[in-house]
């Protein structure tokens, strides 16, 4: 049996005692935690091929050394099912990828946080919600614990604390942890993981640096192209982070599309690239929309084209459709971009 290296402490065998200790010592997230006994931590470690002492990397903002064991301790506290632990490791590997830009994302004034999107055959098995209420409320164990485990690692290993190491102004609800799946079986397009080069049999976590979830709704546009047009105008809101940047060439925005809309949109856009291209083509605002000082800033940055349009972002592939949600239709969401971060897709290894 693997000998754990983490320091131990004695706590009364009472759930409230451990919860109150976590509040007192500030290694919780304010919600009750599961005590990480040796037995529980070892159960998680048994589900990953990685050694407990393997160093996954230095986790910002304070660059704490993240070992697999420390990830397992925090995942245990979050309530992660042992067999779901590889998703936590994969998500943390994504967070630690240089392209994800973890230092900036964990220290910024923005509300940005890892948003985890899961593909693969075990979504249902692990309670990773992808149907009604998948962004909150569906209450699957995987959705409620895997993202939380990543957040606890950022807090306890990386040292991320609002108002101290993190300058986030508001934070966001997803900072407790956000993890949801794609309803691949209802998607008319290749899944997010397939578009990243994986196949359907692989369990994959994609980590998006999302600023928040921006909802929109429609009952007035019967033509799928009209719906796509309005989505484009909606996501190109004038104070989007992309309009603050020198260019629109980095980052992604996740378009959360319900299965009914996906089916409708696919009649006009059978290839996902067609949809991305159309939405990108219309995701702009006229320069006249902006106030004069703001106009000059955008002109100076070279963001205005010869038709007076300010495009939201540089390329169609930066707009990333993901199909999930309930069958009520009518609603979509944008998981908006921090811009200086690229989505990372990582296989959960067993």
């Amino acid at each position: 049996m693997t000998a754990l290296q983490s320091p131990t402490m004695q706590v009364d065998d009472d759930p409230m005692a451990f919860y109150e200790l976590s509040l007192e010592q500030r290694w919780g997230d304010g919600a009750p935690l599961i005590p990480p006994t040796d037995e529980r931590v070892l159960a998680l470690l048994a589900s990953t091929p990685y050694a407990a002492d393997r160093e996954l990397g230095l986790l910002p903002p304070k660059y704490g050394t993240l070992t697999v064991e420390l990830a397992a301790v925090n995942a245990t506290m979050a309530g992660v099912e042992p067999e779901a632990f590889p998703f936590v490791i994969a998500a943390l590997e994504g967070v630690l990828s240089p392209e994800w830009n973890a230092y900036a994302l964990t220290t910024t004034t923005s509300s940005v946080h890892p948003m985890l999107i899961v593909n693969g055959p075990t979504r249902e098995r692990f309670g990773i919600d992808f149907k009604a209420g998948c962004l909150g409320g569906a209450a699957g164990r995987g959705s409620m614990t895997i993202g939380r485990a990543v957040s606890l690692c950022l807090r306890n290993v990386g040292g991320q604390r609002p108002g101290e190491t993190s300058r986030t102004v508001f934070g966001q609800p997803a900072r407790f942890g956000l993890c949801f799946g794609e309803w691949e079986e209802r998607s008319p397009w290749p899944s997010l993981a397939e578009r990243a080069g994986f196949d359907r049999a692989q369990e994959v976590v994609s980590v998006h640096g999302g600023k928040g979830n921006f909802p929109f709704a429609d009952v007035n546009n019967d033509d799928p192209a009209d719906l796509a047009y309005m989505i484009a105008k909606c996501i190109a809101f004038p104070l989007n982070n992309w309009y603050l940047e020198m260019t629109g060439d980095s980052g992604q925005l996740v378009l959360v599309i319900n299965p009914i809309w996906a089916e409708r949109l696919a009649r006009t856009f059978p290839d996902v690239e067609d949809l991305q291209g159309y939405v990108h083509e219309h995701a702009w605002q006229p320069i006249d929309l902006f106030r004069p000082t703001n106009q000059q800033v955008l002109i100076d940055k070279g963001r205005v084209d010869d038709k007076g349009r300010v495009y939201l972002c540089g390329r169609p592939d930066q707009l990333v459709p993901v199909v999930c949600g309930g069958l009520g239709g009518l609603h979509g969401q944008a998981l908006t971009s921090f811009v200086q971060s690229e989505i990372q897709s990582v296989e959960a290894r067993r």
């Binding site: 149907k131 009604a132 079986e185 209802r186 299965p259 009914i260 309930g326 069958l327 009520g328």
Partner: protein
């Protein structure tokens, strides 16, 4: 989604339709997509006007299935006029 429960609900509705010479058949249940397809048969109906209008019929079938299937589903009714929702 349990196929047996769906079949029982569809049969319940079919029994009512048979009173007027119509019928309802379960075409498919797909748990991966939560999609249920049924086919309405009114060719032999003695009183076609007695069969509920398609939109109402879909609602009635949907309600019957909902009593046995607690989760959300999409119902597609094939027949003289295909309906989904």
């Amino acid at each position: 989604m349990n196929e047996t429960d769906v079949a029982a609900a569809v049969e319940e509705m079919a029994e009512l339709l048979r009173l007027d010479g119509g019928d309802l058949h379960l075409v498919s249940v797909d748990p991966a997509t939560d999609r249920i397809e049924v086919r309405l048969d009114i060719e032999d109906a003695s009183c076609v006007e007695c069969i509920l209008p398609p939109e109402h019929l879909r609602t009635v079938i949907s309600d019957a299935v909902s009593k046995r299937v607690p989760s959300e589903f999409e119902l597609i009714v094939h027949g003289p006029r295909t309906l989904s929702g």
